[in-house]
């Protein structure tokens, strides 16, 4: 009953605070949309400036959908800094040099990959040309030998028979002049040297598609943490928490009231973010959307508990903000964007204490790999454990304001 009134009050307050509503619902949509378009499409063309590069290589580069600018004698640094091209490819005495600015990791990959492929291909072409030449030479040679033989034979017939016999030339007329010229000198460059198989998804996956499930969870965590923490802080600093505790309300009723009151908005926010990602931004999901909801609703309750808990250690909004670099940012690194297994061992020990580590990785499992509810039971249970721990600590923490 009291808890219900508390929930009602929280809803009223949030609905009246238009800015908080906007932060909850529009901010994540804005950022996710931005990210969707901000990452370069892997199919985008890359511009490469070619200096002293043979037409063969340029042809290959252009075949690989790169824009090639042929240049002579350019000052590379200013040229690149002016944004004329992503990279400069140069040949000098058979040495190939690719110069890149190295200020934007997004541009480099395609430029390096494309150029080295082109140079390799052209080298291979040269090689096969050489082989062809060699074979031609050999054919010429064998033709010469054949001619010689024939002329010798001819000569022999013209010699007197006794001389010919005495010459003791044991000429094997069966010298194999028929060198096998069927060496396959054609190296087929049209086929990819390697076939890439994708276990999850396909090659059309962009970075955003891998990042988005993590981002959904991150926003849920971040905004709910912030709003829950701030509102509890306000309740405390305005004296209303003290007033509330002067009534016979139970401390657990306050904590659960907060948890469910803000939980409603956390759930709505989660729904908006997920539905927007899936239906408007066309995020492909291999698993079920219900599982996405379960993960993020649990995560939002964790964020609520953590926000309420940390707000008891701060005395101003600014101090609450100070928790962001300390508590929120590090969790991003462990949320599935980077591979925790390859991190330093001590970092691998830190990862399991972070709620976003479970939520982010489980989101990837569900969205990209299509894990079922049964397969994500373990991380979900751990999130529930987080909620239980934070709620308990919050109820105990209320003792600071009232002893019973």
């Amino acid at each position: 009953m009291r808890m219900l009134q508390l929930i009602k009050r929280i809803c009223k307050q949030v609905l009246r605070d238009k800015r908080t509503l906007a932060l909850l619902f529009l901010a994540p949509i804005f950022v996710i949309t931005l990210l969707n378009y901000i990452f370069p499409d892997p199919d985008d063309e890359v511009t490469i400036a070619a200096v002293n590069v043979s037409d063969d290589v340029i042809d290959i580069l252009e075949d690989n959908d790169m824009i090639v600018k042929q240049e002579n004698e350019i000052d590379i640094k200013p040229y690149l800094e002016d944004g004329n091209a992503s990279a400069v490819l140069e040949e000098k005495d058979g040495e190939w040099t690719l110069t890149i600015l190295n200020d934007n990791p997004m541009d480099e990959g395609p430029a390096i990959q494309g150029s080295s492929q082109a140079v390799m291909e052209s080298n291979l072409n040269d090689l096969s040309d050489n082989i062809d030449d060699m074979i031609n030479n050999m054919e010429d040679m064998s033709a010469g030998v054949k001619d010689m033989m024939e002329s010798i034979n001819e000569m022999m017939t013209q010699l007197p028979p006794e001389v010919a016999q005495n010459m003791d030339i044991n000429m094997d007329m069966d010298v194999d002049t028929d060198i096998d010229t069927d060496i396959d000198s054609e190296i087929d460059m049209d086929e990819d040297p390697i076939t890439v198989e994708y276990i999850y998804g396909d090659e059309s996956y962009t970075f955003f598609e891998i990042l988005n499930p993590i981002l959904v969870s991150f926003f849920v965590f971040f905004f709910v943490f912030l709003i829950a923490g701030m509102s509890m802080l306000k309740e405390r600093s305005s004296g209303t928490l003290e007033k509330l505790l002067s009534t016979p309300i139970r401390k657990s009723e306050i904590v659960f009231g907060y948890l469910f009151g803000y939980g409603i908005f956390a759930i709505l926010q989660t729904a908006v973010i997920i539905l927007y990602s899936v239906y408007i931004l066309d995020m492909e999901i291999a698993g079920s959307i219900t599982n996405m909801f379960i993960i993020n609703i649990l995560l939002s309750l964790v964020a609520l508990g953590l926000g309420l808990l940390l707000s008891t250690f701060v005395s101003s909004e600014f101090q609450m903000i100070q928790f962001i670099p300390l508590v929120i940012i590090p969790q991003i690194f462990f949320s599935g964007m980077l591979n925790v297994d390859t991190m330093e061992p001590w970092l691998q020990w830190i990862a399991p204490i972070m709620p976003l580590y479970y939520a982010g990785n489980t989101m990837i499992d569900v969205v990209l790999k299509g894990f079922t509810l049964g397969e994500i039971m373990v991380p979900l249970s751990i999130l529930v454990l987080f909620i239980v721990v934070f709620v308990t600590l919050n109820i105990l923490g209320m003792r600071r304001y009232r002893k019973v």
């Binding site: 307050q13 004296g239 003290e242 016979p248 002893k403 019973v404």
Partner: protein, 240 residues
């Protein structure tokens, strides 16, 4: 009846209350007066169960504080206005009314709002209230559960003289059913109390009706009592 026996309280090394024993008479207005920083608010928070006292015992109606159920018959008004600024006056008072176990009728809410003359402005958001209006709303909220014990920490700060008089009249009316404990450092208000507890040096320096205290110290107003106490202290220190 509120009974305090040998209450001590310190924050770290700083002692705030030392060995306080006093009974607060039922159906009377008891004024807790003293210079700021003498522990009036700390004493009140101990009474409410918000602070833990280090030694001694507090009993209200033979129940030891802290006890959550006791809060049902207690009304509390803090020094600061503890209001939700994004709710209206009416929503504030209704919300707190719901926090008490038993149902509080709309009639009670209305009559309480009338008492503090906020009937006209009950639909306004509290953030548009004046300082005095907020104080009156806080008072109304403290009265909402018709408490047997009413604990008010400086209730009349920022309230204009006319309204102040009417509030004091109301407080005297409340005496029929309630025991009131009021802190103040406005000395002319102290004279309106039935009983006074003078706090000085972590303890109660004097108690009794205002008239008794004035006679004992042979002075004509309460301010001079504190000056006398100061002198005594100075003499004691010199004697030692």
């Amino acid at each position: 009846m509120i009974k305090l026996s040998n209450i001590s309280k310190s924050f770290g090394k700083q002692t705030i209350l030392q060995d306080i024993s006093v009974n607060i008479a039922a159906n009377q207005i008891t004024g807790l007066i003293g210079p700021s920083g003498t522990g009036k608010t700390t004493l009140i928070k101990c009474l409410m169960g918000m602070e833990k006292y280090d030694a001694g015992s507090i009993q209200i109606d033979n129940t030891t504080v802290p006890n959550r159920k006791l809060l049902n018959k207690t009304g509390y008004m803090a020094q600061s206005d503890s209001l939700y600024h994004d709710l209206t006056g009416l929503e504030n008072i209704q919300f707190f009314a719901h926090m008490y176990g038993r149902k509080i009728s709309n009639k009670t809410v209305q009559s309480t709002l009338n008492l503090v003359q906020l009937e006209q402005d009950k639909k306004k958001l509290v953030q548009h209230y004046s300082g005095g209006m907020k104080r009156r709303l806080s008072l109304a909220i403290a009265l909402i559960n018709q408490p047997k014990y009413l604990i008010l920490d400086e209730p009349t700060v920022g309230i204009d003289p006319v309204l102040k008089l009417s509030i004091w009249d109301q407080l005297h009316d409340l005496k029929k059913d309630s025991t009131l404990l009021i802190t103040t450092h406005i000395m002319d208000e102290a004279m309106k109390c039935d009983q006074l507890l003078l706090m000085k040096n972590k303890g109660i320096a004097a108690s009794g009706t205002p008239q008794e205290i004035l006679e004992n110290f042979g002075v004509s107003d309460i301010d001079q009592v504190f000056l006398k106490l100061e002198e005594q202290e100075y003499e004691n220190a010199a004697a030692n």
